[in-house]
């Protein structure tokens, strides 16, 4: 069902050229630093990722992911430290636990759960981040644009 709904939305450009919009919510200490590292090393990736910084991935509420997808993001990445490396001891574990529930909820709501990814990127893993984004873009090109693109205007807060 989810896939059908998404295909109806159609794409505006040939799939190879279409760059999906990915919103990232990154923890400050590992993943945001890792993204900085990818920049410092000039590791080229598809121009699709925009990053919102939080101090710890523990701060991420499931609603943040739903809101981003509802607003028309083609994919959402929540990126944390590796297990055992959290600057705040255990914040990432809380996120690890939330992630499967978020995926399940997305599925039930008819949104392809592949649009949401939880990844671990340490401060030195710019190359890994580049690989993750490149791969995610490929996957999103297969899935197609977000079905919410042409729906309502952004939620008013």
């Amino acid at each position: 069902m989810a896939d059908e709904a998404e295909h109806e939305a159609g794409s505006m450009a040939p799939l190879e050229e279409w760059t999906p919009y990915i919103l990232g919510i990154f923890c400050n200490w590992c993943s945001y630093a890792g993204a900085d590292g990818a920049g410092t090393s000039r590791m080229q990736r598809p121009a699709s990722l925009r990053i919102v910084r939080v101090m710890c991935s523990g701060r991420v509420e499931p609603e943040m992911i739903f809101r981003a997808l509802k607003n028309g993001a083609d994919g959402v990445i929540v990126s944390t430290c590796h297990a055992g490396d959290c600057h705040y001891v255990v914040g990432n574990y809380k996120t690890f636990r939330k992630a499967p529930i978020i995926s399940k909820f997305l599925e039930q709501m008819g949104v392809n759960p592949k649009r949401f990814r939880l990844t671990n990127v340490s401060a030195s893993e710019g190359a890994e981040l580049t690989e993750i984004v490149t791969e995610f873009v490929e996957e999103l090109r297969e899935i197609g644009p977000s079905p919410f693109k042409n729906m309502n205007s952004p939620a008013e807060e």
């Binding site: 945001y32 990818a38 925009r50 939080v54 523990g58 981003a68 028309g72 055992g84 340490s122």
Partner: protein
């Protein structure tokens, strides 16, 4: 308020309460060509002007420069803007710079937001300028959404204890400890082995000056041992570090010596009677020691230790020990310390070539490592400074050095980086051997000679011209043993003559590289400092903050940060000491006030936040029936804010309305819907 943390009052010459209508000023930085070379700044400016809430957009080549900062200050003073966005590099780079800029004109520094259009955009989308411009617009728009919802916050300060912990007492750790102690700070120097000195104590001479290594390091070691401000804790390991900048709590496990260190008078009577013989680690297994031992004669502290892995507890030493220092019932001791700063100087491990089969280390007797050669050359080493080959204990007539063993090699188990010291130490050892045996034939198989330091190139010139050392440019592909005389045959390609060579040598020295210590991951997690891809600890910034780490109050020095020769390790040690001292001398440090706050009226007292908090900062007062958050204990992760089902908890600077405002404007709206 506790006495550890107090709110510093902010001078507010510019009266901004955070309640007035936000007037956002956006400052677009070209960063030379780093940003402007990829995207059109004019188009970005034109777009930024259309974002609601933006009142002023300014471009400048380098916003972080004085002139750039003055542009911001002038606008604030004129009252034109009350929220500032700089679209430039990462906030991890220059957020402190611009916050200071706001503060200098009396504006609350937390009304600032940085849009990262360099690391996250122009540097990673260099070949797609049009798409990069779209991403830049999004990033700026997201930052404006955050800026419009920013609130002024008070800066918090914490006291810094004037006590430092130095982990590792090699040449770097010793210099950190010395510099800090000379500035009158109490220093606890923790060393894993029974003696301080590290790898430098194992070396015979140092390049390029050919100074005697022991003559340099042993007086330093002795000074450290006697310094009133330095507490040396040898034969001990740090097992746990908790707390935060200025107030770390450290747990140290002091291993049992089985010899009372206060009673032992180092007479050595016990060594004569000890029947157990085992390998001496200090001599890289080239010489034996007893189960009761001092690693080397100049060790500090110069007291005996029993190696319980090999001791058979026969009790002979106990019988001969006049001061009755032997105690087989010695137990590990737990030491707890409170320190303000931590310097990690745990050094490196030499690469172990056993796993690299083509070079036959461990199979062929006459293949040794550079560090073993160093011990052979040392006057207090296994051969008292007269190198011999292990198979027949005769001085070899020909020696080959093979460079880049474990370094500059992408095969599994090896390292792609250059270890920086092997070219020089191989040439040094070659010269030393030539001095002792001028008639001998010494050859170095190299890929490139990297003689980059002060006086290094000259050292190389002399080695090649005056000492007559042969240099063959080519990596040895294979080594095999001549079974008759145990000589070693090297097969390689001479890439300058473009022909294969096969040469026989009486001994081969593998110039092994430097690698992160085996226990690096444990250290990394304990001190909260990430490892870089090569496994060494990561500095806060490779150029500007080489001794700082992203864990405030934790500094790194020496080869723990990457392969280094002695001058570089000492330079970094002095840098780390100065960085730690500047923190302790000031006595207090500012921390970001990102703690969580609770709205008691909205709280339903489900108490789910209490279990989630890793710091025990949230408590339930059952008499007053309220949940409270301790601002001192809270480190500002925001996990409780995310979990609160009532939305009663909010995290400063990462409030719900701030994050959702960003998410709601993140996706651009175009004429025919969103892109």
């Amino acid at each position: 308020m506790s006495e550890e943390i107090q709110k510093a009052s902010e001078p507010t010459a510019v009266n901004i309460t955070g309640l007035e209508e936000p007037k956002v000023g956006v400052y677009l930085c070209h960063c030379g060509v780093n940003i402007a070379g990829v995207i059109s700044m004019d188009e970005l400016e034109a777009y930024t002007k259309t974002i609601p809430g933006v009142v002023k957009v300014t471009q400048y080549k380098f916003m972080c420069s004085d002139t750039g900062q003055n542009l911001i200050k002038d606008d604030i003073k004129k009252g034109e803007v009350n929220r500032v966005i700089v679209a430039a590099c990462s906030p991890r780079m220059h957020e402190p710079t611009f916050r200071k800029c706001l503060r200098s004109v009396g504006m609350n520094q937390f009304l600032f937001e940085q849009a990262n259009i360099r690391e996250h955009n122009t540097w990673v989308h260099m070949r797609q300028p049009e798409k990069a411009l779209e991403v830049a617009k999004d990033i700026v728009r997201i930052a404006v959404a955050k800026a419009r919802n920013l609130e002024p916050l008070d800066v918090m300060t914490v006291k810094v204890k004037p006590v430092a912990l130095v982990i590792g007492a090699g040449v770097a750790g010793i210099n950190v400890a010395k510099d800090l102690a000379n500035q009158n700070f109490q220093v606890h120097l923790v060393e894993k082995t029974p003696t301080i000195g590290g790898h430098m104590a194992q070396l015979d001479k140092t390049f390029p000056t050919m100074d005697c290594s022991a003559c340099i390091i042993t007086p330093e070691m002795s000074n450290i041992g006697q310094h009133p401000k330095i507490n040396t804790i040898n034969y001990a390991e740090v097992t746990d570090i908790s707390g935060y900048v200025g107030n770390f709590h450290v747990t140290i496990n002091k291993k049992p010596h089985y010899v009372d260190q206060s009673l032992c008078n180092s007479c050595g009577g016990c060594v004569d009677v000890c029947p157990v013989i085992t390998e001496n680690e200090f001599d890289e297994g080239m010489k034996d020691r007893k189960a009761i031992y001092i690693p080397f004669p100049q060790a500090i502290p110069n007291k005996y230790t029993i190696d319980m892995d090999h001791c058979i507890q026969c009790g002979l030493c106990k019988d001969v020990c006049e001061p009755h220092a032997i105690n087989f019932d010695d137990k590990p001791k737990k030491i707890e310390l409170d320190v303000g700063t931590i310097v990690v100087a745990t050094g490196f491990d030499p690469y172990d070539p056993t796993d690299y089969k083509p070079y036959g280390f461990g199979r062929f007797e006459n293949v040794i490592t550079g560090l073993q050669m160093e011990r052979e050359l040392s006057s207090f080493g296994p051969t008292t400074g007269k190198p011999v080959r292990p198979s027949d204990n005769k001085a070899p007539h020909s020696i080959a050095f093979i460079q880049c063993v474990g370094s500059r090699n992408c095969q599994v188990g090896m390292h792609p980086y250059c270890s920086r010291v092997c070219c020089m130490y191989a040439m040094k050892q070659a010269r030393q051997y030539k001095e002792k045996h001028p008639e001998s034939d010494v050859t170095i198989f190299y890929m490139d000679i990297r003689a980059f330091g002060k006086g290094y190139e000259e050292f190389y010139e002399i080695a090649a011209r005056e000492y007559g050392i042969n240099f063959i440019r080519g990596r040895a592909s294979e080594i095999y043993e001549n079974p008759e005389n145990k000589n070693i045959v090297i097969r390689a390609e001479d890439t300058l003559l473009k022909r294969p060579v096969e040469l026989e040598f009486e001994m081969v020295v593998l110039s092994v590289g430097l690698e992160p210590r085996k226990d690096m991951q444990t250290i990394s997690r304990m001190v909260g400092v990430a490892q870089t891809g090569d496994g060494f600890l990561m500095e806060a910034h490779p150029k500007l903050r080489p001794v700082d780490t992203l864990s405030d109050g934790v500094f790194i020095a020496g080869a723990v940060q990457g392969p280094k020769d002695i001058p570089d390790a000492v330079a970094q040690a002095k840098g780390a000491a100065s960085a730690a001292a500047s923190l302790m001398a000031r006595g207090e440090v500012e921390i970001e006030p990102y703690f969580s706050k609770i709205n008691e009226a909205m709280c339903s007292k489900c108490l789910s936040c209490i279990d989630l908090c890793p710091y025990g900062a949230i408590s339930f007062d059952k008499y007053e029936d309220v949940v409270r958050i301790n601002e001192v204990l809270c480190k500002g992760c925001g996990t409780c804010a995310a979990a609160c089902p009532c939305g009663a908890i909010s995290q400063n600077h990462f409030r719900e309305k701030q994050i959702f405002a960003m998410l709601d404007t993140a996706i651009p709206v175009t004429a025919n819907g969103k892109i």
